[in-house]
């Protein structure tokens, strides 16, 4: 009783500890899932921000109309829209004219209450919203067209050049590595003279201008690197340029011309002090902007980037060959994590309140949402559908919320549990087995001699071993072939005679002198077999059977046939013998299968023994 009393509480404690660890193992709390939200937005088109300046953060999402899986509005036509969520409710929805590229939120001034501005980038414009009302439009300056190209098109327009000369002139310009307009590239891509002529006739009288398209947008803090500091928009464009705007969004503070089209940008520091803008380009190079210059350090990735994040002083780049690369912001490679599937989306898990952990959330093509802390995989869950975008931040007043946009148009909010175990618990580096020392034999004299001999005769020993191994294999193979051809085994191999393979299992039951042989025959082949003779071979002085040859009319594939035959032991003094069962085919004398049944001793003689009989049953 005492032991019992002592035992119970400890058990209880143990189970409590277990539930505790269970709570810590669980990272994501499923807060809200709306499968009918009808929006799809990439990671760059979502943000959490304090629109009204009351500390209640809303979820702002710009939904694209390009997804064929989601329905349009009341008109039935798909529309691009910006939605603002508060709790589970949509508090605002407005139409965006073009496909959204990116949504950012930042503070443009220090006025109280601090209301953040929402910047929606689409096409060649950035729309700024204050109090959820559009109040300013920034137009990205158009691409400057080469004067030579303009001259060629002017001559084409006035008819001074025919299509052949115009084409050749443009060709020459392209060979000089001049940046041409899209119209000229289109022309140069044509080969048929008729097509070239048509294109020129269609376009020659419209003015040649090339809009500059936004590719990515982010926010760089202006005077100090804090959450509520004033920010500047940083725009990346299709013309391979990066622009830093002033906080009001009305003018360009700095412009940089890169060699490639920027697609992902992260910022570090503040514009007025020491800042860096790290830019991943479509071709896989990563540039760093610092002060007035483009830094000389260029990271060349082994594949195209599909996401980039910054964790303190390191940047994490996900590439299209399923790798997460970690680099120092100065460009030095730290390590890589190889993932089992394509990376579809990446987001930074920046744990706020109480503790400060930064992890990478990666969504993979196999519907796994993974969390990595450095090199270590912390957590994996499966999602209901493909995630097209995700965003981590403060929602309402709750920090650490992840918003997910699904391909089916659904939206989900997940929250990180306060006690979630995100820290890197497992020791990195080599597996623990490596630390266990090998059991080396002691260096005795015999051992030393043995080693010496092995060193001297290594080749011979190896050769002998190989020879023996070969012989063993040959013997095995021969024995195997013999069994197959003799029909001695319990399972026959498929051959031309039967057209299928047969399995035979025979057992004996009874205490004697009357026994029963029970056979189970299965045709494991594909075809049915007919007229199969079965022969029992036994010592006729000891045993008696009604029929020693029977014929099974047919064996249908995959059906178990069970049969029983009586055997009478006529000479009760003769001990026991075995009976061989041969299963043959009408075409051949060689049996297909053989089974041997060891008959038990008759009970009357030995006196004991149902056990013996049972024991010898096969």
């Amino acid at each position: 009783m005492i032991a019992n009393k002592n035992g119970t509480p400890t058990n209880k404690n143990h189970s409590l500890e277990e539930t505790g660890s269970e709570l810590r193992e669980k990272i994501w709390l499923d807060a809200w899932y709306d499968p009918l939200a009808n929006i799809t937005a990439s990671s760059s088109c979502m943000t959490f921000c304090d629109v009204n300046g009351d500390g209640d953060h809303k979820f702002v999402v710009a939904s694209s109309s390009a997804n064929p899986l989601i329905n349009g509005g009341s008109t039935g036509l798909p529309i691009n829209k910006m939605r603002v969520y508060k709790g589970t409710q949509v508090v605002n929805e407005s139409v965006i004219l073009e496909e959204p590229v990116a949504v950012c939120s930042y503070y443009s001034d220090l006025k109280m209450p601090r209301k953040s501005i929402i910047a929606v980038g689409c096409g060649s414009f950035v729309f700024l919203y204050r109090n959820l009302q559009p109040f300013f439009k920034f137009t990205i300056p158009p691409i400057v067209i080469d004067p030579d190209e303009l001259a060629i098109w002017a001559k084409l327009g006035s008819g001074k050049y025919d299509e052949k000369t115009g084409y050749d002139e443009l060709f020459k310009l392209r060979d000089l590595n001049k940046q041409l307009s899209i119209r000229s590239y289109e022309l140069l891509s044509l080969t048929e003279r008729e097509e070239i002529k048509n294109l020129i006739n269609q376009r020659k009288n419209t003015p040649l201008n090339t809009q500059n398209i936004l590719t990515c947008m982010t926010v760089l803090k202006k005077d100090k690197d804090e959450v509520d500091a004033i920010g500047c928009l940083v725009l990346g464009t299709e013309s391979k340029a990066v622009m830093i705007l002033d906080p009001s969004g009305s003018s360009v503070l700095k412009k940089f011309q890169l060699q490639n089209v920027p697609v992902f940008m992260v910022t570090h520091g503040a514009y007025d002090n020491d800042y860096r803008v790290i830019i991943a380009c479509r071709n896989g190079s990563i540039y760093t902007l610092k002060g007035d210059d483009i830094s000389g350090v260029v990271i060349e990735l082994d594949s195209q980037p599909c996401g980039m994040l910054r964790i303190e002083k390191s940047i994490v780049v996900g590439t299209m060959n399923c790798v997460l690369h970690y680099y120092h912001t100065r460009g030095k490679k730290q390590y890589s994590v190889y993932l089992p599937s394509n990376i579809k989306n990446m987001e930074l898990l920046d744990m706020k309140a109480q503790r400060n952990v930064k992890c990478v959330i990666a969504f993979l093509e196999n519907n796994e949402l993974r969390i990595y802390n450095g090199k270590t995989l912390i957590h994996t869950i499966a999602t209901v559908d493909q995630v097209v975008g995700m965003c981590f931040g403060i929602y309402g007043t709750e920090p650490n919320v992840l918003a997910l946009s699904y391909r089916n148009g659904g939206v989900e909010f997940k929250m990180v549990s306060r006690v979630a175990k995100l820290e890197n618990t497992g020791k990195g580096g080599p597996p623990p087995e490596q630390e266990i020392p090998l059991k080396l034999p002691t260096r005795t004299k015999i051992y030393m001699e043995q080693t010496e001999r092995e060193k001297e005769h290594a080749t011979d020993m190896h050769r002998v071993f190989q020879k023996e191994l070969c012989k063993l294999r040959l013997t095995t193979a021969r024995a195997y072939v013999k069994i197959l051809t003799d029909g001695q085994g319990p399972v026959s191999q498929s051959n031309h005679m039967t057209g299928g393979s047969i399995r035979l299992n025979a057992t004996v039951s009874g205490l004697g002198p009357l026994f029963k042989i029970r056979m189970t025959i299965t045709n494991t082949g594909q075809k049915a077999i007919t007229r199969i003779p079965v022969v029992f071979i036994y010592n006729q002085q000891i045993y008696l059977m009604k029929q020693s040859i029977i014929e099974i009319p047919a064996l249908i594939p995959q059906v178990q046939y069970k049969m029983g035959y009586d055997v009478l032991q006529i000479d009760e003094t003769a001990g026991s013998d075995s009976i061989r069962i041969l299963l043959c085919t009408p075409q051949s004398a060689i049996p297909v299968i053989t089974a041997v049944v060891n008959m038990p001793l008759t009970d009357a003689l030995v006196g004991s023994v149902p056990q013996t009989a049972m024991g010898q049953q096969r």
Partner: protein, 177 residues
């Protein structure tokens, strides 16, 4: 001074009041206090505050905890020394119901004395808020087997429902001792 003298005979109980931020903990406690001691406007609690009041012949001393994420780890440091828990749920905040459930699970795991818990499904006045029964379902209260609990729908601003809950709690506390 009179209250101090009379309180000498009364039984003292310590309770902790927890729940997510902006669920109405301080407002509920405020409405339980004597009219004179009530505060006009309630601001978010930082850390925790201690309030005392008399109800149902008991002298309550309440630890009003802050519900903000960064202070929630303070809750558990009070579990050793209390007679009951008051857990306030914001019935209008559907998104964070799962967070409240998570915090409750942690509470149930850490608090091992099986003391009674009183749940307030607050903000019943807001349209679309969950009823006490719905809150109970979402929070999985049916799974609590090792202690007594009760859930009451309240509106702390209008002071409705709170007395029902406190009456139940006093009954439980008197039964225990």
């Amino acid at each position: 001074m009179g209250s101090v003298l009379s309180s000498g005979k009364k039984k003292k109980v310590k309770i902790v009041c927890c729940g997510l931020d902006n669920s109405g903990k301080t407002t509920i406690i405020n409405s339980l206090k004597a009219k004179k001691a009530q505060v006009a406007d309630v601001t978010p609690t930082v850390g925790f505050s201690v309030e005392e009041f008399e109800k149902e012949n008991l002298l309550f001393s309440v630890f009003d905890m802050s519900g903000q994420g960064k202070f929630r780890n303070l809750w558990e440091s009070f579990y050793d020394d209390i007679n009951a828990v008051v857990f306030v749920i914001d019935a209008a905040d559907r998104v964070r119901m799962t967070v409240a459930k998570n915090e409750l699970d942690l509470l149930l795991e850490k608090e091992k004395k099986n003391i009674p818990i009183l749940f307030f499904a607050n903000k019943q006045d807001i349209q679309g808020s969950l009823s006490a029964q719905e809150c109970s379902d979402v929070m999985g209260l049916g799974e609590i087997k090792d202690r007594s609990f009760n859930i009451v729908g309240t509106n702390a601003l209008k002071n409705t429902g709170i007395d029902v809950g406190v009456k139940w709690l006093s009954g439980e506390l008197n039964k225990k001792q």
